[in-house]
């Protein structure tokens, strides 16, 4: 798939904080410059019990870069990362938007105390700020922050593992996803639905084994459209970044059962509407 054009990363990405994805080169970027900064690997803090930036982190940042012009036009007021780990993703998001959208407020959460401290270090090393909270998903924030978050990004623990490894102490919590890798994902989705504003977007890293079709169908029932922003196969994993958005939000009308984003004013043509993707696998659905 042509969505895999950026596959020469991530190894090179540690050498430079500036990169231009092929997506950016080919996309209409409007008035926005074609390159942008992301977190520098050498400035990302690390800790033995914190997940270092890896292929899945890079694919999420590359997906956000590919969508950067849309994010700027979207003018989010509040962005949140659930499971911020080393801080690589939230720092990159803040950096890539800071020039054209400097007034966004960022929040980041993680269940691992070492991770939140590491995230703060990474943010500070890059001169950006996010409000960091040690918590399980958004526990404690969820009720008051409901409906206020315009963009949520998540690289969840998606690896299929024995159930007992889920939400273990330390670094295990960053990848252990239980049966089909869905245990934590399935807890995050309803929280995201509660937190997202009427025009909210959710970007999530998902593995083919997590059954993305079923996830999209379930979010579709809650009124979300979805599409794959980027997919990439590594030696070990087939990763996808799926973007969810509230269908009909632009028109103010809830729409159910339709996918593909035709109700929004944005052009999704340069992407891969999940519609066709769903059709392939939806024989029994």
């Amino acid at each position: 798939m042509s969505a895999n054009q950026t596959v020469d990363f991530p190894m090179n990405s540690s050498l430079s904080s500036v990169r231009t994805t092929d997506k950016e080169k080919s996309d209409t970027q409007g008035p926005y410059k074609a390159t942008s900064s992301i977190a520098q690997i050498q400035l990302v803090n690390s800790h033995l019990e914190v997940y270092d930036p890896s292929d899945d982190s890079f694919v999420l940042v590359d997906a956000l870069l590919a969508d950067r012009a849309r994010l700027i036009e979207h003018q989010p007021k509040i962005c949140l990362e659930v499971g911020c780990g080393s801080g690589y993703v939230i720092t990159s998001l803040a950096l890539m938007l800071q020039e054209e959208a400097p007034r966004i407020h960022y929040f980041a959460t993680d269940i691992n105390l070492h991770a939140v401290a590491t995230t703060r270090g990474t943010l500070e090393a890059h001169g950006v700020h996010a409000e960091v909270v040690a918590t399980d998903i958004a526990s404690g924030l969820q009720r008051r922050l409901a409906g206020l978050v315009d963009v949520i990004v998540v690289n969840p623990p998606y690896v299929p593992t024995p159930e007992e490894e889920v939400a273990c102490e330390g670094i295990t919590a960053s990848w252990a996803g239980g049966e089909n890798g869905r245990r934590v994902i399935d807890r995050i989705l309803p929280v995201a639905d509660e937190l997202l504003s009427e025009r909210g977007w959710l970007y999530m890293v998902i593995l083919a084994e997590n059954n993305p079709l079923e996830i999209c169908r379930r979010m579709g029932e809650k009124g979300y459209g979805s599409k794959i922003v980027l997919q990439r196969s590594t030696q070990e994993e087939r990763l996808q970044v799926i973007k969810f958005w509230r269908e009909g939000a632009a028109a103010g009308l809830p729409r159910e059962g339709s996918r593909g984003g035709s109700s929004t004013s944005e052009s999704w043509l340069s992407h891969f509407p999940l519609f066709s993707f769903l059709r392939k696998g939806e024989n029994g659905g």
Binding site: P102, R103, H105, A117, V132, A134, T135, G140, L141, R144
Partner: protein
Amino acid sequence: MRLLTHNMLACNVKGVVNGYPLRLEAEVVAERPADFNADFLRHIFARIDWKAFVGAARSLPEEHAVADLPEDAEPSMLASEDFLRRFHHALLELHVEKGALVCPETGRRFAIDKGIPNMLLNEDEV
């Protein structure tokens, strides 16, 4: 932790009904300038629990305590640049680096360390 975040946090212990607002016990506060953005302030105003906000702002250690916020606020005040500046400063420029958040119902303490509130629960609290 900004007062914005304090305003959004509630006690998350299972069974707690009146877990908001958390009482702020700030030991170390840092002031850092933030970009003034009237649009954001007007947007977030409707969602700020003003009583909790003013209570937290006044509770800060003496040198950082904010005394010039009105007891009550109403949307018409958002037309005043002076009001917006004071709102902005208290909401976004004061960072509680060390201290605690205390549940008003149970007294459960949530530590704030290095600016990060710890809302993690013990097994028997979930």
